[in-house]
């Protein structure tokens, strides 16, 4: 068993090394130089971390990318093009074609249909999982090169949007650009916890809420009949202290940690619990499903994440969070990145320390611990 384990570790180590080398080659930029007429584009290969598939770019330039993603026996084909401030993205996934046309104003038009006969279809949980895996696979490439490759930037953001797309919202739809930057669409970059917050780390907390049809009683004003369920700002539909960061997720289904205070956080999904006010994990508040390359954090995206993590889910047939998604959608593609990528030194998710880290791990100045029942200040000094 010991030999087997060390053998498995050796194989895993070799795979990770290969992945790192492949990723480094992709990040080196040597495959994306401007092409001369007749010159062929070199392929760029990205091995996703933690065995999440392989991305092959047949083209990767500032104005165009094209390729495929292979994972779990599925092949996703994609293309993204930038032309005079306008972007076109096309994705073929599991018998469906998704198309996005983005205007420079921030408005965009989406479509989705069955590849076999061109008729309408809907997004599914499987589609979202595969699209999110592709976005995750591109995280390191995105952070290294999105600023110089607009086609990649918009492509990854569009993946983030589709990875969060509800079953119950029509795939063929136009989303209008915001006129104002106030209210729910506001960027929350200043509330995002990032590395470099200083030796005396003080956590930044943010407030999130949603409305829905959940009734918690007859004679109550907290998610009660007078408001037709939970109103925006009700205690049971509000989290007072969301710790926004680029922390990865935990092992539970939605990957997020919740608790009644900052030291008893565990990975689970509360159902409109008025006692639960603290939350973090899986890039809570980011525009996109879980963590990915882009880092837009806005009130609308935070509210949507809170909605789908608090007793609802993206595929909820009652479509409780669809209006939150519609409000957040434009933020995925338009707003600037906040930054805030974390260097995780010890990811305890999946281990017996998840949600049960020794308290000595906290603020020990020995590297960033993730997936603990507390937030380690080492991640943000």
């Amino acid at each position: 068993m010991g030999r087997e384990r060390s053998g498995v570790r050796a194989v895993g180590c070799a795979l990770r090394t290969a992945g790192l080398l492949a990723s480094l080659w992709a990040l080196s930029g040597c495959a994306s130089a401007a092409l001369e007429p007749g010159e062929e584009q070199e392929k760029v290969v990205v091995v996703a971390p933690e065995e999440q598939g392989l991305v092959t770019f047949d083209a990767l330039t500032a104005t165009r990318l094209e390729g495929r993603y292979e994972y779990r026996g599925e092949t996703v084909r994609f293309e993204s093009e930038a032309h005079e401030g306008v972007y076109y993205v096309t994705l073929a996934v599991r018998g469906m074609v998704l198309s996005a046309t983005l205007d420079a104003s921030g408005a965009f038009d989406l479509d989705g249909y069955k590849d076999a006969d061109g008729t309408d279809t809907a997004m599914t949980a499987v589609d979202r999982a595969l699209i999110h895996a592709l976005e995750s696979a591109l995280t390191e490439l995105y952070r290294a090169r999105a600023a110089e490759l607009p086609a990649l930037d918009v492509f990854s953001r569009t993946l983030g949007l589709w990875s969060d797309y509800p079953d119950t919202v029509a795939l063929r739809r136009m989303f209008y650009a915001r006129l104002e930057r106030k209210g729910s669409g506001s960027s929350l970059c200043e509330k995002l916890n990032k590395p470099g917050q200083g030796a005396a780390f003080v956590p930044r907390y943010t407030w999130a809420s949603h409305d829905c049809f959940k009734l918690k009683g007859v004679f109550t004003t907290d998610c009660g009949p007078l408001s037709g369920g939970c109103a925006y700002g009700n205690d049971s539909s509000t989290l007072d202290s969301v710790f926004m960061s680029m922390h990865p997720g935990g092992s539970c289904s939605d990957g997020r940690f919740f608790g009644t205070n900052a030291a008893n956080l565990r990975c689970y999904e509360p159902d409109h619990d008025s006692n639960v006010e603290f939350a973090y994990g899986d890039c809570f508040g980011r525009c996109g499903l879980g963590c990915g390359g882009s880092t837009q954090f806005t009130q609308a995206c935070l509210d949507h994440d809170a909605c789908v993590s608090s007793g609802h889910w993206t595929a909820n047939p009652l479509s409780a969070c669809d209006d939150e998604f519609a409000e957040a959608a434009v933020d995925y593609l338009v707003l600037s990145n906040c930054g805030g990528a974390l260097q995780i030194d010890y990811n305890w998710s999946g281990s017996s320390y998840e949600g049960a880290c020794p308290t000595s791990f906290r603020d020990a100045n020995d590297g960033c611990d993730a997936a603990c029942q507390f937030v380690d200040g080492d991640c943000f000094r």
């Binding site: 809907a122 119950t168 063929r172 739809r173 289904s253 008893n264 999946g350 320390y353 020794p358």
Partner: protein, 197 residues
């Protein structure tokens, strides 16, 4: 002399009390205090007000308990090794969750009443602005269709499987989309506010 003896007695009693208290604190108190024996118990422990010290957590049952003193003595290399062991479990759990999804299911029909979700910001958008953005989007789609139809860019519409059928379907959908948005424009220009599919 009596006073001195009394003082000595009091000091002895105080020292003994301190020793007992130290012993009890080291062992840890019951659930109402700061020691818990498993993550599940940690989760079930009564909440602690903000500002109080967190409970001293210990490793889950089935694994040797790791005293806090030893945990704090772990080197970075030792912690890294322990953390890496969690990666395999993470991958396994992720794949197990994905295995539960219906990968073999056929493509579903479109969402019923898929336009019910209207964002508050869209509802606040002035009609004139909505008209302007719709006109612009129609123009973008026409440009995209034109690019896809020109010979140097035809492969844009044919990239997925190399057949012209896929490209033709994409072009047909874009043309349909232009027609739908033109209908929307006609309604919005006449005072309507919603887009009908």
């Amino acid at each position: 002399m009596v006073l001195r003896a009394t003082a000595k007695l009091l000091i002895a009693v105080l020292a003994a009390a301190l020793l007992v208290a130290g012993f009890l604190c080291h062992r840890g108190s019951s659930r109402g205090g700061f020691a818990v024996s498993s993550p599940r118990e940690a989760a079930a422990a009564p909440p602690i007000a903000a500002g109080q010290a967190p409970p001293r957590s210990m490793v889950a049952a089935g694994r040797a308990a790791l005293p806090t003193a030893l945990a704090s003595a772990l080197t970075r290399e030792e912690k890294a090794r322990l953390a890496v062991e969690g990666e395999a479990a993470r991958i396994a759990r992720r794949e197990a969750r994905l295995d539960q999804l219906p990968w073999g299911a056929s493509r579903p029909p479109p969402a019923v009443d898929g336009d019910h979700a209207v964002s508050k910001s869209e509802a606040r958008l002035p009609a004139a602005e909505k008209v302007r953005q719709t006109e612009s989007m129609i123009e973008r789609l026409r440009e995209r269709i034109a690019r896809a139809e020109q010979p140097p860019f035809q492969r844009t519409a044919l990239v997925f499987d190399g057949s012209s059928r896929a490209g033709e379907r994409l072009l047909a959908r874009m043309r349909r989309r232009v027609a739908e948005l033109e209908q929307t424009l006609a309604r919005e220009g006449a005072g309507g506010t919603s887009e009908s599919q």
